[in-house]
Symmetry: C2
Subunit: 428 residues, 2 copies
């Protein structure tokens, strides 16, 4: 091993990336996982599925890099060229790799599929290549060393790449002494914007310790805050920074690592042996879907109602016709009756209800697109709140489904303080 950092480069291939049809998130994933292992990516090159171009790029890169991750082009179709290119650059023929054939056979058998020629193409690997296991997909990864450069070829399908990266990063980290003291704490938050969070931290901590790198990753609906240190000696500083963040953002922190709001809510329900139901209008089943995506959700979630029309709000949830006539479907009284109706129909312990105007149509001067009423609580206490969150339909549904789960999380934890987004998103 050298002491200098490894020169790691990425070669991404795919016409769909070059055309802009697909946004490449794979290279960010690789950089993140490598970063967590203390390894930096030096350069990345992206080209379409073109033999001459790919070959020139890989040849050139292999003379400069210590390690190349090739991503994409492992599939069964004629525009999947990676094995062919690597063989050409290494100056070896393609040959059927028994381990890859066995993997394909198992993969097809498990799915009751016939192994066809197109699939079998995926077992033709450069002579001398080593198989890298793909626990999810049909195409195995493979690697070989050309000159002094190690080349690892990985699949373009994001979840297959993700599954393969863990072991690769771990193995590299074990050989990268600079990575050994590295430690990252990731905190999941909901209801904070990146620039707001940055401003609050800057105001509160003018002299942020330089040894603790602060990072943000804004997603929808959650935002991650990351505290990275490069040396084990800085763990105290990292812990101190974490306490500072907990002090500043407190109840906006959902949990550590990859914790999702739905996971946290189900965890809190499980601790109480309790169950939750949902009555959704504008979020249209998304809260239920977020909950049921979590393995084991059946313990805490038995019933959800998507009640889009007024007639269904009445017949399925027992919302009063007069309440609808007097207040409209997007109103405090209706959303409260939806929550109570769902509790009664499902015999669940807790309920979330949402009714709003997701757009693009349906807004009025009094209730513009983005207006929503939320209700949450139990048989004894139903709380309600109106917000205005005027973003596009899909984002509106995502943020409001998450807000419903967040209010349930706060209710279960007994947090009475209002989240920041209540003030930011309140109706005028």
């Amino acid at each position: 091993m050298k002491d200098a950092p490894l020169n790691i480069q990425l070669l991404l291939t795919g016409n769909e990336i070059m055309s802009g049809d697909t946004v490449d998130s794979n290279s960010a994933l690789i950089a993140q996982r490598f970063g967590e292992a203390g390894l930096g990516v030096y350069r990345k090159v992206t080209v379409g599925d073109d033999v001459a171009l790919l070959r020139a790029e890989l040849s050139d890169m292999a003379t400069k890099a210590d390690l190349i991750i090739v991503n994409g082009g492992l599939g069964p179709t004629i525009d999947d060229l990676t094995a062919e290119i690597l063989a050409a650059v290494a100056g070896v023929p393609l040959q059927e790799h028994p381990q890859a054939v066995a993997h394909l056979q198992q993969w097809c058998a498990k799915r009751n599929l016939q192994l066809d020629d197109a699939n079998l193409k995926q077992s033709m690997l450069p002579q001398g290549a080593t198989v890298v296991d793909n626990p999810i997909g049909s195409a195995v990864g493979f690697e070989m060393t050309v000159g002094r450069c190690r080349i690892i070829c990985t699949p373009g399908v994001p979840n297959e790449l993700a599954a393969m990266l863990g072991p690769i990063a771990a193995e590299l980290a074990a050989h990268a002494p600079q990575g050994l003291g590295r430690s990252i704490v990731r905190l999941q938050t909901f209801g904070l914007g990146e620039s707001t969070a940055q401003q609050i931290i800057s105001d509160a901590v003018p002299n942020w310790p330089s040894e603790v790198e602060l990072g943000f990753r804004a997603g929808a609906p959650q935002m991650e805050i990351k505290l990275s240190i490069a040396n084990a000696a800085d763990r105290d500083a990292q812990r101190h920074c974490r306490e500072t963040l907990e002090g500043l953002f407190g109840d906006h922190i959902i949990g550590e690592g990859d914790t999702l709001l739905a996971y946290r809510v189900l965890e809190l329900l499980r601790e109480r042996g309790a169950s939750l139901t949902t009555a959704e209008s504008c979020t249209g089943g998304l809260i239920a879907s977020m909950l049921t995506r979590i393995p084991g959700s059946s313990q805490g979630f038995h019933a959800g109602f998507v009640t889009y029309s007024n007639a269904i709000k009445q017949s399925v949830l027992g919302v009063n016709a007069q309440t609808l006539a007097d207040n409209g479907a997007v109103s405090e009284d209706v959303v409260r009756e939806m929550a109570l109706g769902a509790l009664q129909r499902s015999e669940a312990d807790y309920a979330i209800a949402v009714s709003g105007i997701a757009g693009p149509d349906g807004g009025t001067e009094e209730k513009p697109v983005g207006t929503v009423w939320l209700a949450w609580g139990d048989r004894h206490t139903i709380r309600t709140r109106s917000l205005v969150w005027p973003v596009d339909r899909a984002l509106f549904q995502t943020m409001l489904a998450a807000a419903g789960l967040d209010m349930m999380r706060r209710f279960l934890l007994g947090i009475d303080a209002e989240p920041r987004y209540f003030a930011q998103r309140q109706a005028r």
Copy 2:
């Protein structure tokens, strides 16, 4: 102008992209806008904010490309290096550019801000550079020609880039006659794998016309098949290929462009003035969520039921206790009663019902994880089918929700032929 396509390359800079903290969507935006103007991007390179690396990359690229779009590094901070690098590569000094200064003064005045030194750095451009207007941000773009290569430097802030790209793409298109004949047909399919589709095409059309580029984009749940031609003269060949695909895949084609299954189902319902309801167990609200993500879905979708537990299947949908006891929740009789119950409760015209074992737990020898029963139909006819689709929980839910929508699409269209995935995914 040459007749060969322009060799267009992108150079992206930014530590936040290299670390994976930010996913680069700018290069997709550039490629899309250029694609619409008939221009392809040939290659892109991404590096961090490092003087030596950026300079080497830009020098090398300028000897090969006709046009380089540099993105990022125009801001006011010390890690914004683009102007300095371009000056070095062109062999000219940086100098204050009056038009850039004027832009900054106006920008600051409009916002009641003081023009400071950090901002003024943004007016230091390579001698001889031409300003490219930035209608949104403080940093102007700029361009110059080095050797035979035209280099345009653009801001990394996405909405500033977007505002600048329109005029650039329009000007390039006006000088790119080769782009005028470009045409792309995209077909959305469900139930075909990439390798199956490729195999079927290879078998049926051994001599695929080289002027019609065939591309696949496998997503979950849909797969896109793309037919691209570079010249208007090849439109007949493109049309012919399209007819071939329609002959081969027929009822697996959902529609053109970006058509989603849920959109197509809602469209068919609208044509009939009819409505649909859902009764979901293992898909947990995902079908409802896919439907309600589409604007205007309230016309055809009023009610959805997520009935996860047996008790709720009985109380909410009226499934018979005896049917559950005799067959278990994942059974033909239960899923039929779920569909009928949902039709009755919602007064909808059509229903989809799903009950299955999403995993990772809950499988048995007789009904392993991935087993599912689907029901679809109307008051007169309920059809049912069992499939085994053993993939991870999230993908299972996505594919089965889509399969439910696909069966409803086929039912509404009166397609009796079984889709390919029925044979591939059948229970043993």
